[in-house]
Symmetry: C2
Subunit: 411 residues, 2 copies
């Protein structure tokens, strides 16, 4: 009954290699193997869980590391479960201390969830994805059921969480309610009967909660695959919206191409492996060529930028973006050294920006210059002074032939 | 408006003296004073809370220390609130325990609560007492409300609790659900709008939770009166059922009188002060007489035993118990030294007990001796060999004139 055929053994090995590829950690590999074996023997798709915080719906390349992993499962016939943590999001911070954690309305949550689904559709086949909201089982729990749930874990185990541990060491308070976030995340896996949970390495503790609670509730324990956190464009910190070092999947083709071109050379291999969707063999080949010098880093970067833009906007848009990028940076012969100007993220009037950056002396001068078609943003002529610009990090403003400023976002 | 008349000032002082009398700690005295002042100015009775764990319904003299304190409040027109922690009882009370307790069924809890109310009626005027069950507000809390409640306290504050602290140090697990016991106890004071909470010194932490949560919920903070824990008949450990060193308020007059007579001399003053219900002046007087030798310790003890028996069974029963005690221990001329025999608590056949204790050699001999009216238990003739005896600590078995054994319960 439970003996695998030779073909099945090969198939298990193939899937194991695929799923472990690029992962920072698989917990434990033998459980992952067992799940894959079961799915072959029982001819049932595995349930692959990804938990999502509904408060940050702007999906960027950092998120796509796990999405690409999910896509591999999907391509092998497994079932992706997106878990929207709307119950957690609805609570916010009950101490009222953190304004960042103001409770979301259920309308906010739904809107954010729709945004996720829309943006994830750029990587996943959303017809083959089930979307779950944890409020649908958590909101109805009674106090007695909550207590029962709480009885399944010790406070010592909860305090082991890295950030709790740090806060304890620093004497920084931890609200009792915060102990419930990992508990909820663990219980979600019980309800969903997840076979595998995918997350970033920062989800190590939370994803293990799923195994813990599944065991306490006498369910089969999920295997966990933790993916590395993608560094941002600065090459240092984890990609995140708040660090202004990200490429959003909704960025337009020019932004996406241009930003990807600014990835530090040493991260190029990592990006190819984690977010390009290229096969492992192909990435090995590219890395070898980069190493041998057969592929120049700049050409490698162009390949990466074109690939990423193609993934989210299609081949045609990617080619056009590449052409415009060349027009700006190669044909337009930007000087090697461009003065920088620090400014805030957000929308700003181009007149204000031209004056504030020192490119021009007054708004009236700026208005005239725009009317005379003498102002370019990233090589594209600015047509009107009446519409606000969305500032992005690295954006180049140019007045006439010789005056340039590169914008840097303040942290 | 808020100025007290001279009479009111005197009345505040009088009540303060009364309530602080015998207390181990008042937290803080200025809040207690303010509550008493308010009650006079606003002409409203204070709400005095006593929280009860419904898992241990056998009320003994140790419990009556707080009941006597409540009675003082009652006699001054205040309102006693008995809070039956029935919801909490479903979880178990971690106080003083090194391992988590098993939950009670809701039927157990109800039965235990009824027993409390019945037994408390021996000290308090139950017509002037309101009885509350915390399930009536806790059971209906939603998970979201629980989280809100949990957000009002930090885990560090919860871990400060002595027994949690010890268990953490010993590496013994604390279930997350156990953190909710003090949270519930605190929240109960919010709902009840308690002015004062009374408890034993072992309730220090829990009663302060009431102040904490009342403050977080923007209510006036209760004052706390902590009463000393009464030592048991062994004169060493806190009186408790499990230590077999207690006098139950439902003990029959003979047991009550006899057990009270075995209180160590040095505890007599403490018993008078904490559980006799005598006025402070009267206790001062008795202590002075004991010290000067005007009152012999044995007579003092008789007075205490008579008083305690009278409190729970009336004057007539107390006098009869005293007479029977005299018949047994004075007129019956028990030898000074009686051999002891250790045995288990519970029901046992008198035949087994007579043989096991070495008083007689066989069950047939024992049967004959009982039939011949030659066996006494605590001075009373044993009429039949057919009914099991309930063993109690210190019980004296006698065969004929000269053979005695005093039973000691094994721990």
């Amino acid at each position: 009954m439970t003996v695998l055929t030779d073909w099945q053994k090969q198939e298990v090995d193939r899937q194991m290699n695929l799923y472990c590829e690029g992962a920072a950690e698989v917990i434990p590999p033998e459980d992952l193997r067992q799940k894959v074996e079961q799915s072959l023997l029982e001819e049932r798709p595995l349930r692959i869980k990804l938990g999502l915080d509904p408060s940050a719906p702007d999906v960027h390349f950092g998120h796509t590391v796990v999405l690409q992993k999910l896509r591999q499962f999907q391509e092998n016939g497994h079932q992706v479960q997106l878990l929207i943590g709307d119950f957690t999001g609805r609570i916010g911070d009950p101490t009222g201390k953190s304004t960042a954690r103001a409770p979301l309305t259920s309308e906010d949550v739904k809107q954010n969830a729709r945004t996720y689904v829309e943006q994830f559709g750029k990587v996943l086949d959303m017809d083959q994805v089930t979307v779950h909201y944890n409020s649908s089982w958590l909101a109805d729990l009674s106090f007695e059921e909550v207590i029962h749930l709480a009885g399944q874990i010790t406070t010592a185990r909860l305090l082991e969480r890295d950030d709790f541990d740090e806060r304890t060491a620093l004497g920084k308070p931890i609200g009792l309610h915060e102990f419930f976030y990992p508990v909820m995340q663990g219980y979600d896996s019980v309800v969903l009967e997840s076979d595998i949970e995918i997350g970033g390495t920062d989800q190590h503790y939370n994803t293990l909660m799923g195994r813990h609670f599944q065991e306490r509730f006498k369910k089969a324990k999920q295997a966990v695959i933790l993916m590395p956190l993608l560094e941002g464009l600065d090459g240092k910190e984890k990609m995140s919206k708040s660090k202004h070092n990200y490429v959003g999947v909704e960025d337009n083709p020019d932004e996406m191409f241009g930003k990807t071109m600014s990835v530090p050379d040493e991260l190029m291999g990592r990006w190819f492996r984690l977010v390009s969707g290229f096969s492992s063999d192909h990435v090995d080949h590219l890395e070898a060529e980069l190493k041998s010098g057969a592929l120049h880093p700049r050409e490698g970067k162009r390949l990466l930028a074109a690939r990423m833009t193609e993934l989210y906007h299609g081949k045609d848009a990617a080619e056009k973006a590449a052409d415009r990028f060349d027009a700006l940076y190669r044909d337009n012969k930007l000087p090697e050294e461009i003065p920088e100007h620090r400014t805030e993220a957000g929308l700003i009037s181009p007149l204000d920006l031209l004056v504030e950056s020192g490119l021009l002396h007054s708004k009236s001068e700026a208005k005239r210059m725009i009317a005379n078609r003498g102002v370019k943003i990233d090589g594209a002529r600015l047509e009107t002074a009446d519409e606000s610009l969305r500032v992005r990090d690295g954006m180049v403003m140019q007045v006439g032939k010789r005056k340039h400023v590169r914008l840097k976002l303040s942290q």
